[in-house]
């Protein structure tokens, strides 16, 4: 009875918080949830961070740093004062270490000791990094940036994105939109502004409406001429009227413009509004108010730099362990010269040699395999979370969160485990394999 009531309570709360608020209340206030931005590269949060030129901070870097802090804090807090009777934190850390250590011992046997630190570090780091993106606020709270090309952008409403209806997918920004947004107000040309207002007034007179708004009527990536033609107006008449209007306006503000002419060098080549009118009428306009949120924190492993970096590190570590255990003999795995020596007796030696060469490729493929496995799982997990949250706002995302917890753990485990197995194989050598033939 009590359980049923609690369940009903949970459902009611989730309906209110995941259904009514985001789909009814917030759109009414103009601040509904915007469609998230899905981008493969880490999104830039700050360019030229702290004024240092070229120091770009992406949200995956921030995610990595957060994971660093948590891992180090956890590890050092747990092992700061080691006691024979462990506290909770130390106990947790020791359980983790013990599980990894017994795994390493059972897999690598006597070779476990040198492999263990790297493997355990990778495991714990990836575990935390994968789970960091599940923290509330990660991948959701961030700075508003001009929507990059291909990203769905929204107008802004103060510090929030302006979304007036639920399931608003925004407007996909083009390169020009991004440029317009990014360089908004930078190249402010009064003559151009005057020409534009003349064109808009002329078009409004032609179409018999009070005024025409670039943003709401003309639309994105379209020219005024296109709009007038669509609305059944005469483009030529608009042009003529706009030219007349521009001539009129040019006389009046001439004195006002006088000081401006002295300060800028570009004023020398400045054209008068009337001269600009034909171009202004035909040129497409891009909205400069398309914004998207760049979250502060994004899962570290959704950045290929990290995953491929770790893949490369794992690859190098495997080679290092192989050489360390077997010396230069390790490389006979790739350049199977011993098999070539007995070719007279055993013609299949050539085959063995070729297989050895193929090993090089499969060995190098490990970098990509390591990197893309981790990246793909985690990135797909993030996308899945977004998509699920927008398809079914209630209850289901919670299940997906659980799945993501599991995926994060499994991927960390798989990465560490593969490193362990490959290293153990490299250290053990291929002598065993040949004995089977």
């Amino acid at each position: 009875m009590k359980g049923v009531l609690i369940l009903l309570g949970i459902i009611a709360v989730s309906v209110i918080f995941c259904g009514i608020i985001p789909f009814v209340v917030m759109p009414g206030a103009g601040v509904a949830v915007a469609l998230p931005v899905i981008m493969v590269p880490g999104e830039v949060v700050w360019e030229d961070f702290l004024g240092i030129k070229g120091l770009t901070i992406t949200n995956t870097i921030i995610g990595t740093l957060v994971a660093d802090v948590i891992v180090l804090a956890f590890a050092f807090a747990a092992t700061r004062r080691m006691r024979m009777v462990p506290g909770r934190l130390q106990g947790l850390f020791e359980v983790l270490t013990d599980a990894l250590w017994s795994l390493a011992k059972s897999t690598a046997g006597p070779n476990a000791r040198p492999i263990f630190p790297l493997m355990a570090t990778i495991f714990i780091f990836l575990l935390v990094a994968n789970w960091v993106k599940l923290l509330p606020g990660a991948e959701s709270i961030g700075l508003m940036h001009c929507a990059a090309e291909g990203v769905n952008g929204y107008d802004r409403n103060g510090i929030l994105l302006k979304v007036d209806k639920a399931m608003d997918t925004g407007i996909r920004a083009t390169k020009e939109n991004y440029y317009a947004c990014h360089h908004k107000g930078e190249h402010h040309d009064p003559a151009h502004d005057a020409a534009l207002s003349a064109v808009l007034s002329a078009a409004a007179q032609e179409l018999g409406v009070e005024s025409i708004s670039l943003r709401d009527d003309v639309g994105n990536a379209r020219s005024v001429a296109q709009y007038v033609a669509e609305q059944g107006g005469d483009v030529e008449a608009v042009l003529a009227r706009a030219l007349a209007l521009a001539e009129e306006m040019a006389v009046a503000p001439a004195e006002g413009e006088a000081p401006a002419e002295g300060e800028g060098e570009h004023t020398a080549e400045a054209k008068s509004p009337a001269e600009l009118v034909p171009a202004v009428l035909e040129e497409p306009y891009y909205r400069d108010d398309l914004y998207a949120v760049t979250p502060f924190v994004r899962g570290a492993a959704t950045d290929l730099n990290l995953t491929l970096g770790l893949g490369l590190l794992a690859f190098l570590a495997i080679q290092y362990f192989g050489v360390r255990a077997q010396g230069l003999r390790y490389f006979t795995k790739f350049f199977n010269t011993p098999a070539l020596e007995n070719v007279g007796k055993n013609p299949m030696g050539i085959m063995d040699f070729v297989v050895g060469l193929l090993e090089i490729i499969s060995e190098l493929a490990k970098i990509l395999s390591f990197g893309f496995r981790l990246f793909g799982n985690l990135f797909a997990g993030g996308v899945l979370l977004f998509v699920m949250s927008f398809l079914l706002a209630m209850l289901v995302p919670a299940g997906v969160y659980g799945l993501e917890l599991f995926v994060g753990l499994i991927q960390a485990f798989v990465f560490a485990m593969l490193l362990l197995v490959f290293s153990a194989m490299a250290m053990q050598g291929h002598g065993h394999g040949e004995e089977h033939h």
Binding site: I61, D68, T79, M84, E94, A120, I124, N305, G309, L312
Partner: protein, 233 residues
Amino acid sequence: MDALGINLGFFIAQLVNFGIIFLLLAKLVWPRVLKMLDERSERIAKGLEDARAAEEARANAERERDKLLAQARAEAQKVLEEARQRGEEQLKQMLREAQAEAEKVREQARAQAEEERNRILAEARDDIVALALAAAERLVGETLDEKRQKAILKRFFAGVPAEAKGLGDKVLVVSAVPLTDDEKAEVLKITGAKQIEYRVDPSILGGMILRAGDKVVDGSVRGDLSALSMALR
């Protein structure tokens, strides 16, 4: 590559970042944790070993205790048995002693009783003898008439003892009744004495007594009675 976000700067930054984490953990954390784990498992193993040893020791002690207990019990049994035997022996001894004592006491008592009886008997005999003599005297005195007196004298003369001849010259003859001449002649003839004095004493009841100096030949009834009384006593 740019579209995938792969950028040499970020790549190196991530590698360096992970390298720092790895070095920190590998130098400062993992060895300590592993050492602690080893130490703990060692200690647990030792603890288990100790516990096992203690268990063994306890089992040993228990066995020892059982053995000791059994020994003690056996010993106690033995001691008990011995004690019982000794007790029995002692009892027997005591019984024997008591019996002996009792026997002795009984013996003593019997002896005493015997003595007492003897004494009493002796005393009684004296009395009886006295009584019997008194009765006999009275009886003899009453029954000794003339004839009997003569018969007694005659028997005396018939069996006069030999010593009567050597009595000497002067003899005192005591008789219960006065002698006749015949009898006097007879006495003269027996004794062979030159001078004879005759005396009558009825207390001798009958017969006669010949006395010369310290020699006496008693042929009186009293003498017989006295002899009887002596014999009775």
